[in-house]
Symmetry: C2
Subunit: 411 residues, 2 copies
């Protein structure tokens, strides 16, 4: 007998009819001789409805009360799903975060999980009960409701799977799994059979929105196997798991892109110790996350500094940097909204040279100019003109043979 | 400094605009140097929406999950009201039943309150915080959510007022207070300034729907002064409180009516020991509440038995009684849906003779035939033909001088 954790998002439980479908799938898994724990999100649209109510009441609602409000979304779903399974003749019981309890820190609206008690759930599992857990919510040590922030249900699921030592954590979504790149952009994009935690983290943070980044970090830390799969059919999706031999034979697993950043350059920065802090501390104090940072070599005591920020923070960042620029005596500030970042990701890069140059050559062969480069052990990212995004992704997908079928699938 | 408990029903918090109005009234009470605890219901329509969802999922949803579901209604309201007060610059904090905690028995969907801890709320009150409590909900000893049943928010409010030793429990409604009779039926109906618990209980159980019966029982038990008043204006409403000298000088405080009962008679019942049990045990086993019961004196070893049941149970009751009638050898079963019960209520009756005969004379003067009579220490009820209901109520209201202004109000 295996212990299977399943997570269904808001779209999968978006109506009574869809909740019935979820119940049928849960029941099938249970009937196949598994213990089952189900984590659910709020019905699609419900969280937005609640957030809109809060916004009508107050521009800056208190985080504590915000959590009391929005956590009702998942509470409704767990009750309905439990009722549905019961009406089908199964034992089912719903759990709020506070009933597990799932303890978090006190950071309302973006709480981090600290511990999950397994005793209550284990007792019910031993009685043959299907457990339905409200995603996204926990409780601090003092009985207050906390929430994990948007997308937190993925993290809830992985955390519960870790605490309960589940055999697999199935994340049901509206896509078939993780693809080598965005299938809407490249028709030849192929579903990846398995991918390492690190690769998935790079894919996620670079713009592939299949899984919440925090849930993957959690899975990596506790070695939880995630199975990302479709709620519309039974075909297997993508396994996100510990790196293995197979994965290393693949140079590049996927191509990701991100159009949500903007570029800011400060030209002619006096090259003095502490100058970087003078530039970036005001940005981080304003809550602006800086992604890529490039500093060119110094000429005649001055250097150029270029970095990217989320487009949503662009105006605020430019205003701050204009001020800083005057203060430190830089020559000019230049900025550009029309950029995108394309990236190749693969654990195979670690043991193979020449991956980056293949990338640069492929882009240059199409006349695509590279504005910035940043690398990690398992990825190479290039900032390019936004209008070339689709072309760049297609070219890179092709250059690394991602459009070819996997060997396993041809046997 | 007084401690004021205020309760606002679903209509009073039915929209963001109305929640703002409630917040303003709460703030005024707080600014007048009071500690304030507010109990709120779900926004109007919300509980029905949730119940409809449950009904779509299952014809017989489990009580435990039903409570998980419907308790979200009040949870939404407490968060929004707390946010609203905070945005006005007040300290406010929401409390779920489980956060107080308000302990109940395990009877989901109709739980009874067992105890209310005052420590958490007291600590917050001492910090100058306005407390917002979710009505209608509690928790059993094992962390499950329980609900008190429809209208339970009145009971929550009175129970919290009792536990916290509040000076008054204000119940805000869409009427001005308790009236001498239904103002829609008798234009001269007058708001009652104060009324005893026992009178209010009779009024409530006889069809005046201003307050939940259980909340009045609770108030009587713990001697909580209830102030029933309008949420639309500031004028005082009706005080429901311990009987005092003033009340006893009034013979009749109010006239109530109830059109929701039906009459069943078994004619020619053999007059033997145990025969009543044979008739009424099957009814109570089927969950049918019998109200008035009248047994005439016996003639030639047979008697007639007449009783009333709620109209909703009429068909079921007649079917049961038809069976019983054959078994015990009664002569016939007769039944009548077109009846109503009119009642006069007043603690003054205890010390005054002749109240009942004044009632009978007033009805007979209008040619209204009395079909059944039942009395308690402080009320007299008559079953009459339904078509005379309005006439009877008007006549009785007049016969006991209820249309005359109270002396206090003329000074």
């Amino acid at each position: 007998m295996a212990l299977v954790v399943q997570k269904y998002g808001g779209t999968s439980v978006g109506s009574v009819e869809r909740i019935r479908n979820v119940a049928r799938r849960v029941a099938e898994t249970y009937d196949a001789d598994n213990d089952v724990i189900v984590i659910v999100s709020a019905m699609a649209g419900e969280t937005n409805r609640l957030v809109a109510l809060a916004a009508e009441i107050s521009e800056t609602p208190s985080d504590r009360e915000y959590d009391v409000l929005v956590s009702t979304g998942e509470q409704v779903t767990i009750a309905l799903l439990a009722m549905c399974l019961q009406s089908m003749g199964y034992n089912a019981k719903s759990y709020l975060g506070s009933q597990i309890p799932m303890l978090t820190d006190k950071a309302h609206a973006k709480a981090r999980i600290q511990s999950i008690a397994d005793k209550n759930i284990r007792n019910d599992l031993n009685k043959g009960t299907i457990i339905i857990v409200a995603g996204f919510q926990g409780t601090d040590g003092e009985g207050n409701i906390t929430t994990l922030g948007r997308g937190g249900s993925d993290t809830s699921a992985v955390a519960v799977a870790a605490a309960m030592k589940a055999d697999v954590c199935e994340i049901y979504t509206d896509v078939d799994g993780v693809y080598t790149t965005d299938p809407r952009m490249v028709a030849e994009a192929r579903k990846i059979e398995k991918i390492s935690y690190d690769e998935m983290l790079e894919m996620a943070s670079l713009g592939a929105k299949v899984l919440q980044i925090r849930s993957v970090e959690f899975a990596k830390k506790y070695n939880v196997v995630i199975h990302v799969r479709s709620s519309f059919h039974d075909k297997p999706g993508t396994l996100v798991m510990k790196e293995d031999q197979d994965m290393e034979t693949v140079l590049v697993s996927g191509v990701a892109y991100n159009k949500d950043e903007a570029k800011i350059s400060i030209v002619g920065v006096p090259d003095q110790p502490g100058i970087s802090a003078q530039i970036f501390t005001p940005l981080s104090d304003s809550g602006i996350t800086v992604d890529m940072i490039i500093q060119n070599i110094s000429h005649e005591g001055a250097t150029d500094m270029t970095f990217t920020v989320p487009k949503g923070d662009y105006k605020k960042a430019v205003a701050i940097i204009d001020g800083v620029s005057k203060k430190i005596g830089a020559r000019a500030v230049m900025s550009d909204m029309d950029i995108s970042k394309v990236s190749i990701i693969g654990v195979g890069m670690r043991s193979h040279a020449g991956v980056a140059s293949t990338m640069f050559e492929a882009l240059s062969a199409e006349g695509i100019n590279i504005q910035m480069i940043s690398t990690s052990e398992i990825k190479v990212s290039c900032v390019i003109d936004a209008k070339y995004t689709e072309l760049a992704v297609r070219v890179l997908h092709n250059a690394f043979g991602l459009d070819l079928p996997e060997i396993e699938e041809t046997i």
